[in-house]
């Protein structure tokens, strides 16, 4: 039974995306079939690019935004660890998998549509703007670990581009550290919105949608399974169709879902059995703490470049796409493959949620609507086909 809320919010999302494309698209995005050569980035954005790549802005002196959002790695982390480590000595472990920043400017503002949460930056949508999302890592103890705005401002004033910074914002900008930090974040946000590399649309699938290339048989099979509401049903949250004006699909509807992803023992915080990362209702945002039904829900990410942005899910639990897909279709038919089993042999299903929130897990939509002993929605061969298709979503395809 299709979830109409999702379908409706998907339509609204696409509409919002169109609007945001108009506002934040700038050059190099929004048309299927490749980047449109646009005007060079504004001076502000160029400054933002330098700040983005400046490792001196961290406590360790070796971590910049680009460290976890690597331009050579589809702006996600090149490391294979589930969560990056930061801090002054690069030894403070993080909590969540660093998401790819590709296409991030297309995210709609956080809000509720028909009672369902939508949009927002970060995996729990807590940042309302690109600027706000960029602020937190500078000051987070497990990331760039600056102590305060003054700290950042101080480092900015000694950067190689400090002269350009003063030229843009005034010679006395560093006399007010809060403002200097703010300006730096503005520059980063501009860079993320204007740089064509943040929204290239140069994947094989984009060229296919533009009619400039063909998909192989395996890729077509995978696409069919991806779209089929009775098989993978992936397109229900990761829409794969062009918009009504021809806009290329972003493979996310920016909605939120609770999949009951298994607990990742590799995250040090999980050593504490009372620690739970509950996404929308905490612990990193507190404005929705009373919305119990949202506990455990995380934002649906874009699947663009998914083949190169391992590991997967908010806790980086799965290292390969095949594993992630196998989890989707065998979560309910073979829970013992995924969750901890207690001494008596009983499966502790949805072990990354406190017992009172297990009811929030999505068990009604295909492919999660199975029971133990049922056939999974996809066979291993079909999983391979879907993986083959997902590989067409990687930008940088050469025609």
């Amino acid at each position: 039974m299709p979830d109409f809320t999702r379908a409706r919010s998907r339509v609204i999302t696409l509409l919002s995306v169109v609007l945001l494309c108009a506002c934040g698209g700038g050059s190099g995005g929004g048309t299927v079939g490749g980047p449109v050569p646009g005007p060079a980035m504004s001076t502000l954005a160029q400054l933002g690019e330098q700040i983005f790549n400046d490792a001196s802005l961290s406590a360790s002196g070796t971590m910049s935004c680009a460290t976890c959002h690597d331009p050579d790695h589809a702006l996600s982390s090149a490391a294979n660890e589930p969560v990056p480590a930061g801090g002054a000595g690069l030894d403070v472990p993080g909590f969540r998998n660093a998401p790819s920043l590709r296409y991030v400017a297309k995210t709609p503002t956080f809000g509720f549509e028909d009672g369902a949460p939508l949009g927002g930056f970060d995996r729990d949508g807590r940042a309302v703007s690109l600027m706000e999302q960029a602020r937190r890592p500078f000051l987070a103890a497990h990331e760039m670990a600056n102590t305060a705005a003054a700290d950042v401002s101080d480092k900015l004033s000694q950067a190689t581009y400090a002269t350009d910074f003063k030229a843009m914002f005034g010679n006395d900008v560093f006399d007010q550290p809060e403002i200097a930090f703010d300006r730096a974040l503005t520059a980063i946000a501009r860079y993320e919105a204007e740089d064509p590399d943040f929204a290239p649309f140069t994947s094989k699938y984009d060229y296919f949608l533009a009619g400039r290339t063909q998909l192989t048989a395996a890729e077509r099979r995978g696409l069919a399974l991806f779209n089929d509401p009775l098989k993978g049903n992936c397109a229900a949250c990761h829409p794969s169709g062009r918009g009504s004006n021809g806009e290329p699909p972003l493979f996310t509807d920016f909605s939120y879902d609770n999949l009951g992803v298994p607990r990742n023992a590799a995250i040090p915080a999980n050593d504490d059995p009372t620690y739970f990362d509950l996404g929308l209702c905490g612990p990193f945002r507190d404005d929705l703490a009373t919305a119990r039904e949202l506990c455990g829900a995380f934002k649906v990410p874009s699947l663009r470049n998914i083949a190169v942005t391992a590991p997967y899910f908010h806790n980086g639990r799965f290292a390969t796409l095949a594993q992630a897909l196998a989890f989707y279709v065998r979560r309910d038919t073979n829970p013992e493959e995924w969750y901890s089993v207690d001494a008596g042999g009983a499966v502790h299903k949805f072990d990354d949620l406190p017992p009172q929130y297990i009811v929030n897990v999505n068990t009604t939509e295909v492919p999660y609507n199975r029971n133990v002993g049922d056939q999974p929605a996809l066979t291993p061969a079909e999983i391979d086909d879907v993986v083959t298709f997902l590989q067409t979503l990687t930008d940088g395809f050469q025609l």
Binding site: G211, R220, A224, G241
Partner: protein, 436 residues
């Protein structure tokens, strides 16, 4: 008239003869004075008779001429003086409209009533052979950015009468396809709403811009041939359900900044040589790619065949329509992931029967029943296993109701509709319509 003329000329002859005779008497005869006077007296009395006859006849003549010179307008004044005025100025108005009420049996909260259309038509005769016809339509009562209505120019063309049986049109006009498109006024069809086959398959009211020649033959054949604008396949929206409701309706241009790099042709034949029977068919074909990027050689073809038969008080009608769009795979591949891809073919047919149950003084009550079947996506061109969409469902619609026609142009209608194949509640409909 001729009798009087003969009279005059015979009198004249008589007069001349007398006059000549009077002067041509043989000189040898020695007429006495008395004989001469007697002849003169006779002459005078003859002339007097002639004069009075002539006067009477010419009076009679003039009176008759006076009456004959003025055409007798016996009925013209009783209907409308506007008719007289129109004949002098060449300007005339016509119009039609309908208000519909529709109540879904299972969803009473969706009951709607609206002015479905209000059409004002204006024609102007420039001369005996050249006229302009125009129609302006308002749909759904109020048209604005926040309101559901629309205003459109439905027709605007110049028509020229060429000779005995040939007409030509240039401008925006109705396509001669099907039974309803050219005769879509509410008094011309049965049922509150137009039948679905001639709404979803033949996109009534279907009009295009271009040129059309129409001819009739003595034995009852009417032919139409024209070159017009066509459809624009780049208007297809794969995210919207509109294409599933009416494929051609979702890509028609209505001559509103229509893309016209590819024109289309229409050819229709209708035979009405047997009184009470009409048989006809038409075919419309043209490229809908319009040179737009990503579209190539997408020819839309719509053909249909229809017949009507009115034996006695019965009235039967049947129609079959079939549409085809070529080369859709290439475009459909780029629409993958969306709900509405372009079908390769679509069709519909219906059969209808009506009966003139009560008929008095030009008013009539006519019950009718109609069965329709249509499929707006009966086949999709092959994409790839698993990617080719499933064919659309056959939709069956059965409609039964009646029309009450009165006053030479007004109709009240009521009907009940049952839908099968795409779900949807049964509908109870009432309508009012007029045409003048």
């Amino acid at each position: 008239m001729q009798r009087s003329t003969i009279r005059i000329s015979s009198l004249l002859h008589a007069a001349v003869a007398i006059a000549v005779g009077a002067f041509a008497a043989p000189p040898a005869a020695a007429a006495t004075q008395q004989e001469l006077e007697a002849q003169l007296a006779a002459l005078a009395s003859e002339v007097s008779t002639l004069r009075s006859e002539l006067a009477r006849v010419s009076q009679e003549q003039q009176a008759t001429n006076a009456r004959a010179a003025v055409p007798v307008q016996v009925l013209g004044q009783t209907t409308d003086s506007a008719t007289v005025a129109e004949a002098e100025s060449g300007l005339d108005f016509f119009g039609y409209g309908q208000i519909d009420y529709s109540r879904p049996k299972d969803e009473p909260s969706d009951t709607t009533e609206t002015v479905s259309r209000f059409v004002v038509g204006m024609t102007n005769e420039f001369d005996e052979k050249t006229r302009m016809v125009s129609e302006l339509e308002v749909e759904n009562t109020v048209s604005s950015a926040d309101d559901p209505g629309e205003v459109e120019v439905e027709q605007l063309y110049i028509e020229r009468t060429f000779d005995d049986r040939l007409f030509g049109k240039v401008g925006l006009f109705l396509i001669p396809s099907g039974l309803l498109n050219e005769n879509h006024e509410p008094t011309r069809f049965y049922g509150v709403f137009r039948n679905r086959v001639e709404t979803a398959i033949i996109p009534t009211t279907w009009r295009e811009g271009g040129m059309l020649m129409q001819g009739t033959t003595e034995f009852g054949l009417r032919w139409d041939a024209g070159l017009t604008t066509g459809f624009d396949l780049s208007k297809w929206d794969p995210t919207s359900p509109e294409g599933k409701e009416s494929p051609l309706g979702s890509i028609h241009q209505e001559l509103a900044l229509a893309k016209a790099s590819d024109m289309s042709g229409i050819f229709a034949l209708n035979y009405t040589g047997i009184p009470g029977v009409r048989l006809g068919a038409s075919i419309f074909s043209g490229d809908a790619a319009q040179g737009q990027p990503g579209f190539d050689d997408n020819v839309v073809t719509l053909w249909e065949a229809h017949g009507t038969w009115t034996p006695g008080k019965f009235e039967f009608a049947a129609l079959y329509a079939n549409g085809h769009i070529s080369n859709t795979s290439k475009v459909n591949l780029t629409f993958i992931g969306n709900p509405t891809l372009i079908p390769e073919s679509f069709y519909g047919w219906y059969g209808q029967a009506a009966y003139d149950l009560f008929d008095w003084d030009g008013n009539s009550v006519r019950p009718f029943v109609r069965f329709e079947r249509l499929n707006t996506a009966s086949n999709y061109s092959d994409l790839s296993p698993g990617l080719t969409p499933e064919n659309g469902p056959d939709q069956d619609i059965i409609t039964g109701g009646f029309s009450f026609l009165f006053a030479q142009g007004v109709v009240l209608k009521a009907d009940y509709q049952h839908f099968h194949g795409i779900g949807g509640s049964d509908l109870i409909n009432f309508g009012m319509g007029y045409q003048f």
